[in-house]
C-alpha cells in the first residue's frame, strides 16, 4: 500500500522513503552510534546500582549487574543497616537521600508554580491590557534576557544572607520565583496571537478583568503554560550552583547538593560506586518519569522554545 503510494507520488515521497543507499546506511549508522553513546551511561548507572560494590570492583567489565543486589538502593535510601551496607562495600555512614529528595520536590514545585504564575500575570498585562509605559517597562524586562546573570549570583547571596534567609526554602526559592524574562516574553508572544473576539464577548456578558484573565485567557494559554512548567521544573530540579551558595543544611538542601556531598564524602581509596550510581538514579528518576509521560511534549517544546 505504502509502496504503491510512494510510486505514484515519486517526487513528494522519494526524499524520505527512498530505497537503501550507502549514504542512508552511513546516516543510520551515525544515528545508532549517537543514540548508543547517549543512552549507555544510563544503562551503566542501572547496571552498577544493582551490583555488589566489592564484586563489581573485581569484575569491572561485566555488562550485567555483578552479584545482583538491591543493596545500593536500600543503603542510599537509608533502609539498610550500617553492617549490611559495609558488607556490600558501602561506607556505612548515612546520607539522607530521601530527605534531599523531599527538599527537591518542595523546592522545584514551589519555584515552578510561582514563576509560571507570576509570568502569566505579567504577560497578560503586557499583551491584553493597554496602559501607559507598557512598551517601556517591557523593553527593560527584555534587556534582562540579553544580560548574563553571572554578576547577580554573589550579590544575591549577600542579600539573602542579610535578610537572614540562608538555609531556608524562602532563601533558595525567592530570587528565581518572581521574575523570568524568558517566560514573560514567551507567554506574551502567544497571548498577542490570541483572538480578541472571545474576550469581547465575555466583556459584553459583564465579565470583569480578573474573570477574563482566569476564565478566558488562561485556559486558552494552557499549552504554553504547560510547556514552561515542564521546562522550568527540569531547570530547577537540576540546579546546583544557587542552592550550593545558600544552603548547607540537609534540612533544606536539594538532591543535587546531597549527591555532590555524597560523592565528596565517599572514601577516595575505595569509593562506593554502586551506592553513588543508585543515588544518581534516584536523582534522575523523577525526570525520567516526567519524560515518559510528557516525552513528545518536551521534545517539541524544546524545539519550539529555541525558535522563539
Amino acid at each position: 500500500m505504502t509502496a504503491s503510494i510512494a510510486r505514484t507520488l515519486p517526487i513528494a515521497r522519494s526524499a524520505r522513503r527512498s530505497k537503501f543507499t550507502v549514504g542512508r546506511g552511513v546516516a543510520w549508522s551515525y544515528l545508532v552510534i549517537v543514540v548508543l553513546v547517549t543512552v549507555f551511561p544510563f544503562y551503566w548507572m542501572l547496571r552498577s546500582a544493582l551490583s555488589n560494590n566489592y564484586a563489581m570492583i573485581a569484575d569491572p567489565s561485566s555488562p550485567v549487574p555483578v552479584g545482583f543486589t538491591w543493596g545500593p538502593f536500600l543503603r542510599v535510601l537509608g533502609l539498610a543497616s550500617p553492617q549490611a551496607a559495609i558488607a556490600e562495600g558501602g561506607s556505612g555512614a548515612s546520607v539522607p537521600i530521601l530527605h534531599y529528595l523531599l527538599n527537591s520536590v518542595i523546592y522545584a514545585t514551589i519555584s515552578t508554580v510561582l514563576i509560571v504564575f507570576f509570568s502569566t500575570l505579567a504577560a497578560y498585562a503586557f499583551s491584553r491590557l493597554q496602559w501607559r509605559g507598557r512598551e517601556l517597562v517591557f523593553a527593560f524586562f527584555l534587556a534582562a534576557l540579553m544580560v548574563p546573570g553571572i554578576l547577580t549570583l554573589l550579590p544575591n547571596f549577600v542579600l539573602i544572607k542579610d535578610l537572614g534567609l540562608l538555609n531556608t526554602f524562602a532563601g533558595i526559592i525567592l530570587p528565581g520565583a518572581l521574575f523570568s524574562a524568558f517566560n514573560i516574553f514567551f507567554l506574551r508572544q502567544f497571548m498577542l496571537g490570541l483572538s480578541t473576539e472571545i474576550e469581547e464577548a465575555a466583556l459584553l456578558d459583564g465579565a470583569g478583568k480578573f474573570r477574563m484573565l482566569f476564565g478566558v485567557t488562561l485556559p486558552m494559554t494552557s499549552g504554553p503554560i504547560v510547556t514552561l512548567t515542564i521546562l522550568g521544573f527540569i531547570g530547577v530540579w537540576n540546579d546546583y550552583f544557587w542552592p550550593l551558595l545558600v544552603t548547607s543544611d540537609s534540612s533544606v538542601a536539594p538532591l543535587t547538593l546531597g549527591l555532590a556531598i555524597f560523592k565528596q564524602s565517599s572514601p577516595q581509596s575505595q569509593p562506593d560506586w554502586a551506592g553513588l550510581m543508585a543515588a544518581t538514579l534516584v536523582a534522575a528518576l523523577p525526570m525520567l518519569i516526567l519524560f515518559m509521560i510528557f516525552g513528545k511534549r518536551i521534545v517539541n517544546s524544546i524545539g519550539f522554545s529555541g525558535i522563539k
Partner: protein, 282 residues
C-alpha cells in the same frame, strides 16, 4: 490593574536582577570580606587581577574548555540534526537523544567520573582490552579539560540538536527536491542548502552554548574540583573559591564583572555576525 499584575515580576526584576547587578559592579571596587562593611578601594582589585597568574591561567583553562566543548557540540549537533531531518522524523529517536538534558550536571559528572575512573572505569577497561594504556581522564593535567569538555558535549548535544532540528523543519522539502533534480549529492546539499539556511538559528544556539560554557561549574565542581593542581580551575570555580573559600567577595565580584564583560562582548560580536549573515539566507 496592569500594575497589580506586573507587580510581582517588577519587584523580582528590581530586587533580584537590577539591584544585584549594580551592587555587583559596586562590590568589584571594594575590599569586602563579608563580616565587615565593604571598603572602597578603587581599581585595586583589577590591578591585583592583572598580576594574578592564577587568574590568567584560569582564563586560559576556561577558553580551552569553551573552544573544545562548543565546537564539538555544534559540529555534532548540526550533523545529527541534518541527518535526522533527512532520514527520519521519529520522536522516539529525538527523545532518546535528549535524555542527558533532563539530568543535572551533578548526575552527569558523577556517572562519567565512574565510567572514566582510571582503574575501574568501563572506558579504561575497554581501552586496556584493546591493548591501549589506561588514561587518567580526570586526574591528569593534560586530560582533565578535554574530558570535562566531552562530558559537557554528551550533556548538551541532544538538546542543541533538537533546537536545530526544529529550525530545519521550517525549510520546505521542495528545496531539497529541486536540489536532487539538479543532481546534487546529499553532502553537497548539506553544505549548499542546509548549512546556509540554518545559519541564523546556528548563530543563536552558538551564543547560548558559548555563554553556558564560559560559566561551567557543576561538572567541574563534581568531577575534578578544579584539579589536578588547578589544571581545570575554570573561572566560575575560581570565583567560587575566592568568595566562599577565602571570603574575598570584593575580588570575586571583580572577576565576575570581568566574566560579565567578556560575555557581553561575545554576545554582541556573535549577534553582529548573525546580522551580517542574514543576506546569505536568500
Amino acid at each position: 490593574m496592569a500594575w497589580l499584575l506586573i507587580a510581582p515580576a517588577a519587584i523580582g526584576f528590581l530586587v533580584f536582577a537590577v539591584y544585584p547587578t549594580l551592587r555587583g559592579i559596586y562590590l568589584s571596587f571594594t575590599d569586602y570580606r563579608l563580616l565587615s562593611a565593604p571598603v572602597w578601594i578603587g581599581f585595586q582589585n583589577f590591578i591585583d587581577l592583572v598580576n594574578d597568574s592564577t587568574f590568567w591561567a584560569s582564563l586560559l583553562v576556561t577558553l580551552y574548555f569553551v573552544v573544545i566543548a562548543v565546537s564539538l557540540t555544534l559540529i555534532a549537533s548540526v550533523v545529527t540534526a541534518a541527518i535526522l531531518h533527512r532520514v527520519t522524523e521519529s520522536t522516539l529517536l529525538r527523545g532518546l537523544i535528549i535524555l542527558p538534558f533532563l539530568i543535572s550536571g551533578v548526575v552527569a559528572a558523577t556517572v562519567w567520573s565512574w565510567m572514566l575512573d582510571t582503574q575501574l572505569g568501563i572506558v579504561n577497561v575497554v581501552i586496556q582490552h584493546l591493548g591501549g594504556d589506561g588514561v587518567r581522564f580526570l586526574t591528569s593535567r593534560e586530560w582533565a579539560i578535554p574530558s570535562l569538555a566531552l562530558i559537557s558535549v554528551w550533556k548538551n548535544m541532544g538538546y542543541t540538536s533538537i533546537i536545530l532540528f526544529a529550525g530545519l523543519q521550517a525549510i520546505p522539502p521542495s528545496i531539497y527536491e529541486a536540489g536532487r533534480l539538479d543532481g546534487a549529492s546529499e553532502p553537497k546539499m548539506f553544505f549548499r542548502l542546509t548549512l546556509p539556511l540554518l545559519r541564523p538559528i546556528l548563530a543563536l544556539v552558538g551564543v547560548l552554548n558559548v555563554i553556558g560554557a564560559f560559566q561551567v561549574f557543576d561538572i567541574v565542581s563534581v568531577a575534578t574540583k578544579g584539579g589536578p593542581a588547578n589544571a581545570s580551575l575554570v573561572l566560575q570555580m575560581y570565583i567560587y573559591q575566592k568568595a566562599f573559600g577565602q571570603f574575598n567577595f570584593g575580588y570575586a565580584s571583580a572577576m565576575s564583572l570581568v566574566l560579565f564583560v567578556i560575555l557581553i562582548v561575545i554576545t554582541f560580536l556573535q549577534m553582529r555576525l548573525l546580522r551580517a549573515n542574514e543576506s546569505d539566507t536568500n
